[in-house]
């Protein structure tokens, strides 16, 4: 009962959030200067041509009217057609979504692995020079934003020691047998590890650039939380039972220290997804973010709307997933 109420409330807030995002985006992109029709027509087009196209895309109506028409479509799963490519927005956006999801998830995995390793090493060697070095490293990682890490990585591993691809999602000359756009995932399923290696070679640097600041946050927060937990009585009690430092950290302290970190990681992960917009551009990675920038440049209004809504849906889903994880890991909530 309690659970159902929480769920319904959650659903309602999500709907309100998405509606708010839709309204804001819809109005803002129509108020800022720049006209999609002018971008489409060749120089020398007549006034009549402009008027005809404007009417075709419904841009001659008032903004609230346009919103109602668009909103009615969306409720039926029709997000309109892209002005530049004339294809349905939904197809375009869903086509690009897998690329961005794979990149974000890979970045998250790298961030958790790196940050977790830092936190555990720092806790194991607390008070030592290694811990101090980890703190300094985390500080540096945090004070440089992801796109600058991207540039640094391009210079290091793309130019200086070219071990990774610096552009695209996959080498264009390769024959791709995939039936979905989840290339990374499908390459594993089809046991095509040659393709897998090529895809990872493209994804690794953008994913790492996205991951570094998040890894630093996880490292710092989890280490802090672990160190506090290590002083608690139940950890001391485990020590008197004959357990060594590694066991005490991993099985007594870690499960409890993770909880406060988890919520923040969820919030930070949504920032990471936001970061894909610039990073994808930097690495010419064919994902949603790159498409978003093109859409803005071309004033492709329906496409911008579709992408923004999709990002909003992803953010809400991430937050929901974090809450579920938190409940699953915390026995107090699990048995409430």
């Amino acid at each position: 009962m309690q659970l159902l109420r929480t769920f319904l409330l959650r659903l309602a807030t999500t709907a309100v959030t998405l509606f708010g995002v839709a309204v804001i985006v819809f109005f803002v992109i129509r108020v800022v200067p720049g006209n999609p029709i002018a971008m489409m027509l060749p120089p020398g087009a007549t006034e009549a041509d402009v008027a005809q196209l404007t009417a075709l895309y419904g841009l001659d109506k008032s903004i609230p009217q346009q919103f109602l028409i668009w909103g009615a479509g969306v409720l039926q799963g029709d997000f309109g057609a892209s002005i530049t490519s004339r294809q349905p927005v939904l197809d375009l956006v869903l086509g690009r979504l897998p690329a961005t999801l794979e990149l974000s998830v890979m970045a998250l995995v790298i961030a958790v692995a790196l940050g977790g390793f830092m936190a555990l090493t720092g806790t194991r060697l607390r008070g030592s020079k290694t811990e101090a070095a980890i703190d300094v490293g985390n500080g540096v990682a945090l004070s440089v934003p992801d796109f600058l890490w991207g540039l640094v990585l391009i210079l290091l591993f793309g130019v200086l020691v070219p071990v990774f691809h610096i552009s695209g999602r996959v080498t264009p000359s390769l024959e791709l047998p995939f039936s979905t756009n989840f290339y990374l995932f499908e390459s594993v399923l089809r046991l095509r590890f040659d393709l897998w290696a090529d895809i990872v070679g493209h994804m690794f640097m953008p994913a790492l650039a996205l991951a570094i600041p998040l890894a630093a946050i996880i490292g710092q927060l989890l280490k802090q939380s672990l160190k506090e937990t290590m002083n608690l009585d139940y950890v001391t009690l485990a020590r008197t039972k004959g357990y060594g430092e590694n066991h005490v950290i991993l099985s007594e302290a870690l499960p409890n220290a993770i909880l406060p970190t988890l919520t923040l990681v969820g919030v930070q992960f949504t920032f990471l997804i936001g970061g894909t917009v610039i990073i994808e551009r930097l690495f010419s990675y064919e994902g949603l973010g790159n498409m978003a920038i093109d859409a803005v440049i071309n004033r492709d209004l329906p496409l911008i709307q579709g992408i923004v809504i999709l990002f909003a849906v992803i953010f809400t889903a991430v937050n929901l997933a974090v809450d579920l994880c938190y409940a699953a890991l915390n026995p107090r909530l699990r048995h409430a």
């Binding site: 607390r126 608690l232 009585d233 915390n330």
Partner: protein, 290 residues
């Protein structure tokens, strides 16, 4: 030969040997004996217990002395060996039952983990042992309790579990660090009685840390009085209550409410006695430095 023999143990803040926490502490606990360790808050009682069990905070280091447990000086053992040895023959009954159980783990594994991981019992044997012990500490429905999480149980219940867990591996020595201080007054008496009962049945030696002389008179045979990390007096409970040997002990005893008259007014330890005791400790410090 005592089972535990602490000889001239000194401890200080790490890197600051002049900030002494334990001052040449010597103390013996015979097999099966219950020794009280009394003193006001901050005297270093818990530090002695932690030094024995190897759980001193990182900021405190041992600067000298021996902790001889069952014939071996623990301080000369390599850390891993020392840890296992402690786990095999010692146990701790902690002060605060609310924080001494891991909140994310069920009770059962928290009792059986030492038996399985350190003493290499079979899981079935360990679980049977845990169930028997929970029954022994008067917990109804041990099976249900073993499946519970700590937050589902009361403070008194949790302290019973911790006592059961301490006795689970039949240790030779238990350090009980103020095991009733954090509990309700009504529960305190039951828990004290339970510890005495378990001790008598298992014949375990206990180093009983407390600031309450009333508790000492009930469960201990001998006691050490600690002030500023120095042992002022080491005697039997009978002799102590008949005639305390140190002025500080006399004042401490006078400051304890009588059980015959629990509401009687408290006479705090007089300043003059404190000052004299401080001077004595400082003198002793000077002696060891020349």
């Amino acid at each position: 030969m005592s089972f535990l023999s602490i000889r001239n143990l000194s401890a200080a803040l790490k890197g600051r040997p002049e900030d002494r926490i334990l001052r040449n502490v010597s103390l013996n606990v015979a097999a099966g004996e219950v020794r009280g360790l009394v003193g006001e808050s901050g005297a270093g009682k818990s530090m002695i217990g932690k030094a024995i069990l190897g759980t001193l905070p990182l900021s405190v280091e041992i600067t000298g002395g021996q902790i001889i447990l069952d014939g071996t000086d623990l301080l000369t053992l390599p850390p891993a060996q020392r840890r296992t040895r402690i786990g095999q023959i010692c146990a701790l009954i902690p002060q605060d039952p609310l924080t001494a159980l891991n909140p994310s783990r069920r009770i059962g594994p928290q009792i059986t983990n030492r038996l399985v991981d350190i003493l290499h019992w079979s899981r079935a044997d360990a679980e049977k042992r845990a169930r028997d012990l929970l029954a022994e500490v008067h917990i109804p429905d041990p099976d249900r309790v073993m499946r519970s999480y700590p937050h589902e149980l009361s403070g008194g219940m949790r302290q019973r579990i911790l006592i059961a867990s301490a006795f689970a591996a039949e240790p030779k020595l238990i350090v009980a660090d103020e095991p009733t201080t954090a509990l309700d007054v009504t529960v305190q008496k039951q828990i004290l009685k339970l510890i005495a009962e378990m001790q008598a049945r298992h014949g375990t030696a206990i180093l009983f840390v407390t600031h309450d002389l009333g508790v000492v008179s009930k469960v201990c045979q001998s006691l050490s009085v600690l002030y500023a990390g120095k042992v002022l007096e080491d005697t039997t409970v009978r002799d102590f209550f008949a005639a305390p040997g140190h002025a500080y002990s006399r004042a401490l005893l006078a400051a304890t409410p009588k059980y015959t008259d629990p509401d009687g007014s408290l006479t705090p330890v007089p300043d003059a006695v404190i000052a004299a005791t401080r001077a004595e400790v400082a003198d002793a410090d000077r002696m060891t430095h020349v």
